[in-house]
Symmetry: C2
């Protein structure tokens, strides 16, 4: 039997190869609530693309599963390794290689975190606009999960911001896709194919990301509503107004209680309003001019009042930021509260009202407690499912996902399929598409070593 650890050490140096007890528990899991941790046979920390290419070739030669890992903040278990496999961890490839001011782009290694990038772009008056809610997440992980977040209603998701990639195929070949431009029709778009592929098509070793001028002025508007469906009905009209919200979220009663109490946040909503509010609409506007922001806020507030809001509050800047920050930590609240599973289904925005009614009906008929918040502007609903019985839980989740699929939705809006939603994905997706995806997978990874067990 080959001395894999020795061969890996030849590539990266023995100090960057871990085995057995030297492998920290962190490497065995991500933040998924349902995926089981797995300790890999080897953890290796490459220092360069050339290292990664050699590691992949070694894995292919020895038919060893290989899983890439960024910060491990994913929610679908896609970076959980195989027990007999190699985990490639990117803490040594975490450099911002370039801020290209002429093209408004950043070139980053996969281990760079969102926080790290934001700090540097801020200094240039620029912003990388994808904020999936966990700033310690790595860009490599973001690319692989096509990370989204609250600002997607304005800027789109990771898919819309990644212009070029360097990736190592399952063959060990290094390819560079795309370029420092937003448009090209020169062969198939390999960049878009790798984005969101959850480590199954290639190991991403570099990404070129779009940056935008960072608007200086923003404001947060909060509106309690007596019914959730009033919010879901209002959303298309707000988007259609052309006012261009940065963030357009709904938060249900229970989640708002959890979010604000965990953050010790008082938003100044009077008790009598709180008592009749079943859900909250949160809208953030941004503008490059303060006067326009003020006008837009006024216009938005009047619009929302007309949609039946119980009241409309323009939050003081600090309270606004605190609410958004607290909303970003909603996952941790759900986890702390003992949620048994998370759902991040995306449905057509205009179907959210029907979808939420279906969710309520599943909750009732399975005796589960299902609450949440979501990116209302995108139809991306985040639900925490509380149901201690594993069989009933699986059934409830499957019914919630089936209901969304029947309305034209997709199983995951931004968390990915990973291992956590694989059963549901395979059961709900068209078998012809699954077979096509398998053939595409083979085109990239003929030996089937890249993250096997994820997606398929």
């Amino acid at each position: 039997m080959a001395d894999i650890a020795g061969l890996l050490s030849d590539i990266v140096g023995a100090e960057h190869v871990l085995t057995g007890d030297a492998i920290n528990d962190d490497y065995t899991h991500d933040e998924s609530l349902t995926a089981r941790p797995v300790r890999p046979a080897f953890v290796v920390r490459p220092g360069s693309t050339a290292d990664v290419a050699q590691i992949v070739r070694l894995a292919a030669e020895h038919a060893l599963p290989l899983t890439a890992r960024g910060s491990g903040t994913g929610l679908s278990g896609a970076c959980i390794p195989s027990a007999e496999g190699i985990l490639v961890s990117f803490e040594r490839m975490a450099e911002i290689l370039e801020i290209d001011l002429g093209n408004h782009m950043a070139v980053v290694q996969p281990g760079v975190t969102l926080e790290q990038l934001d700090e540097v772009t801020r200094g240039h008056g620029l912003v990388y606009p994808v904020f999936p809610g966990e700033s310690s997440a790595s860009l490599g992980g973001n690319v692989n999960t096509n990370a989204g977040g609250m600002r997607a209603v304005k800027y789109g998701v990771t898919r819309h911001q990644v212009l070029a990639l360097e990736a190592v195929l399952g063959t060990g070949e290094v390819v560079r896709t795309g370029g420092r431009f937003v448009k090209a029709t020169s062969g198939y778009d390999l960049t878009q194919l790798v984005i969101g592929s959850e480590g199954t098509l290639g190991v991403v070793t570099e990404a070129t990301l779009r940056l935008y001028p960072r608007p200086e002025h923003s404001a947060t508007v909060l509106a309690p509503f007596a019914r959730l469906d009033e919010i879901t009905e209002a959303v298309p009209r707000i988007v259609g107004s052309g006012i261009g919200p940065l963030i357009l979220e709904y938060i249900d009663l229970v989640s708002m209680g959890g979010i604000t109490s965990a953050a010790g946040l008082d938003l100044g909503v009077p008790a009598e309003i709180k008592e009749s509010a079943l859900a909250y609409l949160v809208v953030v506007l941004e503008q490059r001019r303060a006067d326009r922001l003020e006008e837009d806020v006024q216009e938005l507030a009047e619009m929302i009042a007309g949609f039946g809001a119980l009241d409309v509050y323009v939050l003081p800047p600090q309270a606004g930021s605190a609410l958004i920050a607290a909303r970003e930590r909603a996952f941790w609240g759900a986890k702390a509260a003992g949620a048994h599973d998370l759902i991040d289904m995306v449905v057509p925005r205009a179907q959210m009202t029907r979808y939420m009614a279906e969710v309520a009906s599943v909750a009732e008929s399975t005796g589960s407690f299902i609450v949440g918040c979501g990116h209302a502007g995108d139809g991306n609903v985040h639900l925490s499912v509380f149901q201690p019985d594993p069989g009933v839980l699986h059934d409830a989740v499957h019914r919630v996902l089936s209901a969304g699929a029947a309305l034209g939705g997709a199983v995951s809006g931004e968390h990915g399929i990973g291992v956590a939603k694989k059963d549901h994905f395979l059961a709900l997706e068209d078998p012809a598409k699954i077979e096509l995806m398998r053939r595409i997978k083979t085109a990239f990874d003929p030996a089937g070593i890249l993250n096997p067990g994820v997606l398929f």
Copy 2:
């Protein structure tokens, strides 16, 4: 030998199958200047997706090449059929199936033209924002070439607007990709893979497109410059200002002369300015409020003056529209003037200055005349090459494309590779990527019947 015409007639009815002399010349070519027309053995006009699926299965059974055709306005020869093959033409599948106001989307058949869609969306105060400059182009063709155009600097290209597709694979299987949402991480993004694949991966039978609120107010700013590089230097600064132009073009002296004289257009530029102007910057701004438009125009005009413009003109609305319309017809001017080839290379925006210098040097050393205009905001340069000697022409084009590739560009920004740029594409692209693309092609089209000879 099988009676293919008879079998096709069984599918769509004999009146929708053409052979021999009944095949109009229009079916033999697109608008490419260099691709040779080819008369197919069969033209078939399906009426439904089911028809298309049967036709593809028939083609696969009999190993017949199959090419899809929209309006035939492409510039790379990608819809030119094979002599022994089947041309699938979409004049009978040209219906707007739905304008979905809740989701701001349109669902169209492939034969729908941009003009047709614009007329309907206008009535709803919405817009499909891709304007590749030829409004008789079909949406099916736009999807297959990832059509761009002048508004890409604000809205992106077709790739950014197509949310879902129905397509027939080379196996005859019908798949529906994506959905009425802007974000999903649920398997590989098949939608993005088919977009820009020039008919080689599937036959698109339906597309779901994003619509936007149609801003009511727009203004056109024209600025002559003494040097083209002053414009290419100004572009990143205009984009970086956050003013968000809808259109950001440069037009060189010769092209501006051709464009305005063909359209009988007087832009009111005084003779003494015209004499020193080597290139023009054209910027269109749009806003949902007239007062903001006026402020933005003022700000932009001051900015441009600061970049060394010889003068700055805010065009009266009619002159502005006429200039943009005339610019959209620039291709016809180049064709009428006898251009021998067209180039639509895309380079990183910040490399345009260097790229144009390289182009000038190729023009000089090959004794060619190379002029143009382009989407300066995207680094997408449109060049007309005048060089009567075919060998020298090929060399000049190849050197212009190589120079752009060396600067990090791609062979085609929006026209596609088709047959017209195939030699150059294959020579300049990484062989590992070409092989990967071939394997992807096989995953979609194992029999290799879909538009063979295009791309590869």
